[in-house]
Symmetry: C2
Subunit: 501 residues, 2 copies
């Protein structure tokens, strides 16, 4: 046991506890807090953020981390301790370049910005959000400028925050490959997609029944309610206090069957990741999922790869029909499967099918890059947004609420985050391609026994928390780093089979 | 503006934010957290408690508070600042006598004890809770011994924590007066209480309708949902993050009409207090209710003095009948009023009527006193509990779950808290006696306009937060300090009129 590390431990505990409290406030604000609370609560969050900052950025922690990073000390640490020292040293180096008062002001700003955005979206009024967004963009640019390596761009620094080592250079290639394969495929599919009748999806589905069925789905994929919670929020999300307290939200629409069902499978995928982290890592800085991209690979794997397959629904489709006999008794399983996979360009990312989805991400990626390179201003966002939708998806959002205001992310300062969604899809496809060597996925699904799938993911991904990064996990599992080929191949095969054969 | 106070301000903000986070964890644990979360979450709470402790107990804050307490500096402060300095100096003097590691261990212990108690109650197994309770009692005795003035007893020190300046000497007299008046009155009432038929109360009341009606009641008394939240928990309670985020819980029983209705009026009374604190005090150490006793006076005033009166129900009884036509269409308002005031000794405090209620408190007061004076041990609690119930109420709890395990308080370390409930009743009666000079309460109630009542309480009590203590508030309102006469007179008049005329 390293004495030095033991000296560091109380600092780690303080930092963890303060960040945990911020997570709890975040959860509470999204799911419960009354609307007039925010002005005051934001100040409390600002103070706690400043505390969390100081718990890491101080001379004692700095010198302990430096000492622990010296080869002699470092080599004597356990793997977990080494990962903690590496991660915190990186965080510290980044944070100490940001002035404490700016960090605090930014925390207060983003704590309030969510409700400003929500109101602007509700009122379909981009100008009400623009001043706040300008402030956020300005802080994020400043922070990136303070912290980035000289050889990379501001936007690269933001990308690196979300997915270590993935820069615009890689992403440009990655997205070009996707555009090259997906755009022509989508054209072919759209030409025949009026053969898919999914009117059934827009009948009336009573919300109490939806809640009950979604709870069933969560348990079916392996979500553990003794260690998890399900609540409601404007947009579904997953968060957790630790691996014994993992929380997902959902949002229900009476006239849409798919929306809440695929949300719960998606968030459930995120949750299984956090629930599967090894207990030895609990309450440490490496006790959560390793990156946004890998997280999204788990949610997308459950939602799309498993959840939109015929094998997944075979054992439970009758239960679904019995839940909504009026809407579904005449709908055959095969029609339902075609319905939930219908590819159709639309204005809203969260409602997009698997095939058009990456195009929504590409639009955001290109816009964020331009914004951070000062090629466009915040005020130009609505126009540029609509032009890109026209270009890539051939459609025009009918207003800013379903256009540039649709996503919450920017209000939280999350730039460089969207690409993780596409990376996640690609990782999911790559995992899927190799998983077959060890697990008969189709058979598991058809037998209604999803546990071998969860156990495989737990063993190869979940249990490691953030002690391994994306490419380390992928190389160990599949023998190669991220490779977009699997993703475009998966999409091509799936949509060819569904539509073009 | 005092420069010294400005130097103190960031410390105040840190302390406030950390305590606020602990409040949020407390709320979350009671209303939502999954059952297997507690082991880990308790550690986080322990760390944050230690931080909150250190935010106050440190050399810098100590010397600032000392300097600010010097007459020249103190006199230059605003009233609010003076109250903050006085309150924190008192807290600091108390806390710095408790070793930090013991304080932290105690916080972790009580964070877990709630679920241990709940399980023991569910299993009707006192022995499963006893070891934890022994630890809690032992800590509380130690803490009281560290902090108390030499001339007072351990239990006096605990009482003083809950209601400044109210010691066993006063309480013995207070409770003797109550026993003297209430016990003979109760005997007379019980002799005729079989004339009250309240069978209607135990019919079937669908929970969704109860929820809807309780929401109506909350709004009816003036609870503001833009600044408040209503949720569910095992036992109803009120908490708040600040005066723009006040939260109440409720618990619903399908076969009991009264339970949830009077809980929401009770918790609503607590909530109106917190919502009514002046905005100038928000996010400060004096921005909440001043004491448990005054808090309980507000909840009891709404629940009993207003909520169980005929005038309260006159304008809304028809709505209640229409909500549950099967159970209530044949029940006249007069029978309902007698029903909700039926006096009947029972084993459970939270279900007690207004007349037997103080006897439940007296039992707890006497037991706590004995426990803290080492006249009984934790293991003897079930026996002593049952004997006292036999003595004062003439009944025997059928098991420990409805006996000694019924209340959550001791699991949180709250000894010396129960007397506040009786004090609150007495304060409510005293306020009521004087309120008539300014507000025609009966007319307000009969017109369904409760706002003048809330405004009166806001002006004389709520707005002050904890800048005035109980007796200061009472003297300003009624010209005299707490006087139990009003309470026994109120009970005697009310029950004589209902039962004995």
């Amino acid at each position: 046991m390293s004495e030095l590390f033991e000296t560091l431990r109380p600092h780690l505990e303080r930092r963890f506890a303060l960040e945990n409290a911020l997570t709890l406030y975040g959860w509470d604000n999204e799911t419960l807090a009354p609307k007039e609370a925010m002005e005051n609560t934001a100040k409390i969050i600002g103070t706690l953020s400043a505390e969390a900052y100081r718990a890491l950025v101080n001379d004692e922690v700095r010198s302990l981390l430096e000492a622990l990073s010296m080869p002699k000390e470092f080599d004597a640490l356990t793997i977990m301790e080494q990962c903690i020292v590496k991660k915190l040293s990186k965080n510290l180096k980044r944070l100490e370049k940001i002035p404490a008062d700016e960090f605090r002001a930014f925390s207060e700003l983003t704590a309030k910005a969510g409700s400003i955005w929500a109101k602007a979206k509700e009122d379909n009024d981009f100008s009400a959000f623009a001043p706040t967004l300008k402030e956020i963009v300005s802080y994020q640019k400043k922070f990136a400028a303070y912290t980035k390596k000289p050889e990379i761009s501001l936007y690269d620094a933001m990308l690196d925050e979300n997915e270590e080592g993935i820069l615009t250079r890689e992403l440009d290639i990655f997205f070009e490959k996707i555009k090259e394969d997906v755009i022509p495929l989508l054209k072919k599919v759209v030409a025949v997609n009026d053969t898919v009748d999914k009117e059934y999806n827009y009948q009336k589905f009573p919300i109490d029944k939806q809640k009950e069925f979604c709870r069933f789905l969560a348990e079916y994929i392996g979500f553990d309610f003794a260690r998890g919670v399900m609540a409601e929020s404007a947009h579904p999300f997953t968060t957790n206090l630790h691996n014994h307290d993992v929380r997902i939200t959902n949002h229900f629409h009476e006239n849409n069957l798919e929306s809440a069902m695929f949300s719960v499978i998606h968030e459930g995928g995120h949750a299984l990741y956090e629930l599967g982290v090894d207990d030895a890592l609990t309450l440490t800085a490496v006790g959560g999922g390793t990156s946004m991209g890998v997280h999204e690979s788990q949610s997308r794997f459950y939602e799309n790869v498993l959840g939109r397959s015929e094998a997944f629904w075979k054992p439970i489709y009758e239960k679904l029909q019995n839940t909504y006999p009026e809407a579904l008794s005449d709908i055959e399983l095969s029609q339902f499967i075609r319905g939930i996979n219908k590819a159709e360009p639309g204005p809203v990312r969260t409602e997009a099918d698997e095939l058009t989805y990456p195009l929504h991400i590409i639009i955001r990626y290109e816009i964020e890059k331009m914004l951070m390179e000062d090629l466009i201003s915040v005020d130009e966002l609505p126009r540029v947004w609509n032009e890109k939708y026209e270009e890539y998806l051939g459609i025009a959002p009918k207003n800013d609420a379903e256009g540039v205001l649709q996503d919450v992310h920017w209000s939280g300062g999350a730039f460089g985050y969207f690409p993780s969604y596409a990376i996640g899809n690609a990782v999911a496809a790559q995992i899927y391609a190799y998983m077959h060597n060890e697990v008969n996925v189709k058979e598991c699904l058809e037998n209604g026994n999803l546990m071998p799938i969860r156990e495989y993911l737990r063993e190869h991904i979940h249990c490691f928390g953030s002690t391994k990064n994306m490419n380390e996990l992928l190389i160990a599992m599949t023998g190669e780093p991220l490779n977009a080929e699997y993703y475009t191949k998966y999409l091509t095969e799936k949509y060819t089979k569904l539509y073009l054969e």
